[in-house]
Amino acid sequence: MGWFSKLLVPDREKSKVPHGLWEKCPGCLRVIYKKDLEKNLWVCAQCGYHFKISAKDRINSLADPGTFKELYSEIGSLDPLEFTDSEKYCERYKKAREKSKMNDACITGTAMIGKNKTALAVMDFYFMGGSMGSALGEKITLMTEYATENKLPLIIVSTSGGARMQEGIFSLMQMAKTSAALARHSKAGLIYISILVDPTTGGVTASYSMLGDIIIAEPNALICFAGPRVIEQTIRQKLPEGFQRSEFLLKHGIIDMVVPRAEMHDKLEFILDFTNSGQRTVEKNGG
């Protein structure tokens, strides 16, 4: 839950190359022409490193072009605790809103993926580290309820530094609220696909992101409840290589598959077709 302040620095700011035409890959340290990266959905063509991307870019990579219709964009956070640390929470939030032109760390709406109309919620790590407060919890819940009422499949893309501590207990309760809404969606016989991208941690992991009928992760994403630094401090041991990464979770039976960004749309289309119509539209190898 927010132990990841280090991770809050976006990859693009971490690299030493100034903003401009070039980007340095944190995976292989090569300097890459930005236009090429963009064309490749922000995945390094050399080493396969998946850069963090905004919710908007993510939606463009998942939804069929021109089909996304945003819902509930008006919902934003308040400051019920009147919380202040080094800065007032309301000020911090205001800055995040102005910088991102979003009202909180998630974009929700509907989109087409092949023949399938789908409810979609996509988190944004650049908005206060994708932390979960009341606004985010409300949007996820509203979108889930919308999917249940309209008999739609639901896809949630999670990325989060954990709870929004500044909202205290209200932040914690969003875990219960979103999970309860998913229980109803599931009981209605509808499919929920959870996609986990780097990093997915804390309260978001311990609620809706682990409740998918199918759970998919992008390669090498950090996925955990307690962060590696906290665990290291507690047990005072070095953690094993690859601990809490996508492939580690796959090996331990916690997620269904690891899918690279470029293949995600087609994989979703395959699963949605399979569970909706039962008719193949995406060609698979080896028929």
Partner: protein
């Protein structure tokens, strides 16, 4: 640093003890000499109440963690009769941080699920200081489903610093286990009452608290993160835990105002550890009252009511885009 933060409570306890001994001295004199000293005693009692009224969030946190505070097993042994443990998650092991089983509450059959911290060093190690592993949450869920099957109300006791940050806990899907409890508890068709008796630590506490009634002892806490954790992340100094405790609004009074909890159970002055029996009696009375109220509620209404209860939690707004 930790010692300074603790000193806060020790000072308070000394003051309380001093007033208590004065009160009993005056009462003794009054009895021995046949003089009425009611006024003096009343002044002292008022002084004591004043001290307690001024308790801040950090002092309450220390009381919630006090070494002599009644633990789940103390409540289980005194509130219920015929407690019969049920063990294991049927997959990995029996997690001793969770105690669960069948019991009778004043003759009524109930299922109990509790987080137990342990009293002695040995017990603490056995109970992992009340921090469950994934199998603990799974054991809890298994037992709660048992309760549902046989139509028995569920009573949970919450007392945990939080989920356990360890390698095995992550490997075996700690987040998954908590998430599944949240989802499944929202659908269980028997009454669920959760009582926070000490520390309600984050997701580990919530995983047993998706209940129809959430009760809190007066000096227990319930929070998204520990004051120390919050202080070291947001205030960049674990020593600022008292500040963080106040900022997080984690006391029973705060949470009642926020309508997150349904009832505050009173404690003997200065905390449950100063008179365990009366704390336990208060809990028992509260449980019976709430159980009476939930008894006979239609199953569909019960589950829908629980959904609405959590659905309404959150404070947000709509902006004109």
């Amino acid at each position: 640093m930790a010692d300074n933060l603790q000193a806060n409570l020790i000072n308070l306890e000394e003051k309380l003890n001093e007033i208590d001994s004065q009160i009993s001295k005056f009462k003794q004199i009054s009895a021995d000499e046949g003089i009425k000293l009611n006024d003096v005693v009343e002044i002292l009692e008022r002084k004591k109440l004043q001290l307690l009224d001024e308790l801040d969030a950090w002092q309450k946190t220390l009381i919630a963690r006090h070494k002599d505070r009644p633990l789940a097993c103390d409540y289980i042994n005194s509130v219920f009769t015929d407690f019969t443990p049920m063990c294991g998650d049927r997959h990995i092991m029996d997690d001793h941080a969770i105690i669960s089983g069948m019991a009778y509450l004043q003759g009524r059959p109930v299922v109990v699920v509790a987080q137990e911290k342990g009293r002695t060093t040995e017990e603490k190690v056995l109970r992992n200081f009340g921090m469950p592993h994934p199998e603990g949450y799974r054991k809890a869920l298994r037992v709660m489903k048992f309760a549902e099957k046989f139509n028995r109300p569920i009573i949970t006791f919450i007392d945990t610093p939080g989920a356990y940050p360890g390698i095995e806990a992550e490997e075996r899907g700690q987040a998954l286990a908590i998430a599944e409890n949240l989802r499944e508890m929202s659908q269980i068709s028997v009454p669920i009452i959760a009582v926070v008796i000490g520390e309600g630590g984050s997701g580990g506490a919530l995983a047993l608290s998706v209940a129809d009634r959430i009760l809190m002892l007066k000096y227990s806490i319930y929070s998204v993160i520990s004051p120390e954790g919050c202080a070291s992340i947001l205030f960049r100094d674990a020593g600022k835990a008292p500040l963080a405790a106040a900022a997080l609004k984690l006391t029973a009074d705060d949470l009642y105002k926020f309508k997150i909890i349904d009832q505050i159970i009173s404690e003997p002055s200065g905390g449950a550890h100063r008179d365990a029996k009366s704390a336990i009696d208060n809990v028992k009375t509260a449980l019976i009252t709430n159980l009476d109220e939930l008894n006979g509620v239609d199953k569909i209404d019960l589950v829908n009511g629980r959904y609405k209860k959590f659905r309404d939690m959150g404070v947000f707004c709509s902006y004109d885009n």
